[in-house]
Point group: C2
Chain length 264, copies 2
């Protein structure tokens, strides 16, 4: 198992670790990591801006290469059972691994955060964990699941007016009637209006669909797209899809890429 990336933020008081490896090794590594976090982090003493319910707050398995979403769902359930039974930490399954439809969204599972969940977990049947005890220790609870690769993508407008960015974000995000796999917020970043997005399934809602919808909405306010920026990593396919769409390249096949032919 290889650690590809760590992002830590003092205000959030939170670290994001990105690991990659063969399926079974990933489960073993995550089990160890959850045990270590539980031994070192006491949620009763923890403060930070980012919502959280546990020392290891959330573990999403993301399919890569030959691995399927179903494989990742199986890994999430295996890890969840092990964490619940062997570490005594309550585990909620989410996204593609969710065992109940009302547990699909991470934000719903984090409602009230650690402190709120502590009050409710024993008494409220809706908050009973999928694995592990219905009581919260200092390590809190852990959300485990499977989801597609998430692309964090921001678009800057040719205006400093954050209200326009907010209106555009509302028009394009799923929760307000917009594109299905887009979460969006309007922000002001260094004096520029920014539409900040999470593209949660780029195969279903591709980047270019989101960018072009922003461009069209922006035009309605008389502004344009100044530039865009990618935060973190992106699968190659997401950019190839954009190239093929903009170039109207009808006969494209992945095998046409020289590097792919070389590695065959």
């Amino acid at each position: 198992v290889r650690l590809l990336d760590i992002e830590s933020d003092a205000d959030h008081n939170r670290s994001v670790y990105t690991l990659v490896g063969p399926p079974d090794d990933m489960v073993a590594a995550m089990f160890d990591a959850i045990g270590t976090a539980a031994a070192r982090i006491d949620l009763n003493e923890h403060r930070g801006e980012h919502p959280r319910i546990g020392a290891t707050d959330v573990v999403p398995f993301v399919p890569l290469r030959g691995t399927t979403m179903d494989d990742c769902v199986a890994l999430a359930r295996k890890l969840g059972r092990q964490v619940g039974e062997e570490l005594g930490i309550p585990v909620y399954l989410y996204e593609a691994a969710a065992a109940r439809p009302d547990r699909t969204n991470l934000a719903d599972l984090r409602r009230g955060e650690y402190e709120g969940l502590k009050q409710e977990i024993a008494s409220n049947p809706d908050r009973r964990p999928d694995f592990g005890p219905a009581e919260l220790g200092p390590a809190g609870a852990t959300v485990i699941g499977a989801r597609p690769f998430l692309i964090a993508y921001n678009v800057y407008l040719t205006t400093g007016d954050v209200e326009i960015a907010r209106k555009i974000a509302k028009a394009i995000r799923h929760s307000a009637g917009g594109l299905r796999y887009v979460k969006a917020l309007g922000l002001s970043v260094q004096g520029k209006a920014q539409v900040s997005m999470n593209l949660t399934d780029f195969r279903q809602t591709p980047i270019h669909a989101a960018v072009e919808m922003i461009r069209r909405e922006a035009a309605r306010y008389g502004v344009g797209v100044e530039s865009s920026e990618l935060i973190g990593m992106i699968p190659q396919q997401a950019l190839l899809d954009a190239a093929v769409w903009y170039l109207q390249l009808d006969n494209f096949e992945t095998r046409m890429i020289l590097e792919n032919r070389l590695s065959e």
Copy 2:
């Protein structure tokens, strides 16, 4: 050395072999191939629509991965010397490997084809080869050089009027005042007007620059771009460049691609 692709065409009476391998192995393999072609093909008996001057007509070395254009120039000269001296075949160096500015273009070197060159090679000092004897046997002469990866790319218009495709091709091609690394022809393909291009250096003249110039020229005639098509292979970078340009992705780095990070 691996054979990636063969394209043969009966009308052209010509085959294109695409090979990939480590630099020195490529020279050895090409030397053997040129010797085999010389033993089997008699240009005095050869007829075909495509212009040619030799049994092995042209050998372009194309830099890939860690190899530079300078490396390929050195390989072209090494192979050229060996073919001239050991096989007694006249060799002309072209493109980045050219020893004289008037030998940059392949079409100039093929002027008069085998039959015309046979008349001139001994008497015309401008046609004296860079390596090998100034006389032409049944194997003819071979052009050897180094050039960037060539992308064969066609754009279909929303019209059947081939005259419009011809006018656009003229506007965009280098030879008529257009984009530096674009060769273009207007053709009629299955009732559709097509702008057929060779993009001879996609890092200098990117695909999107050619496609968008076609789109603008087409608009002047009241037509649009219906679709585009790629012939053969394309380096990944050429499509990534298009995605980054259309998405206005200012902060892009190759390291942001997940697959690249995985193979580091």
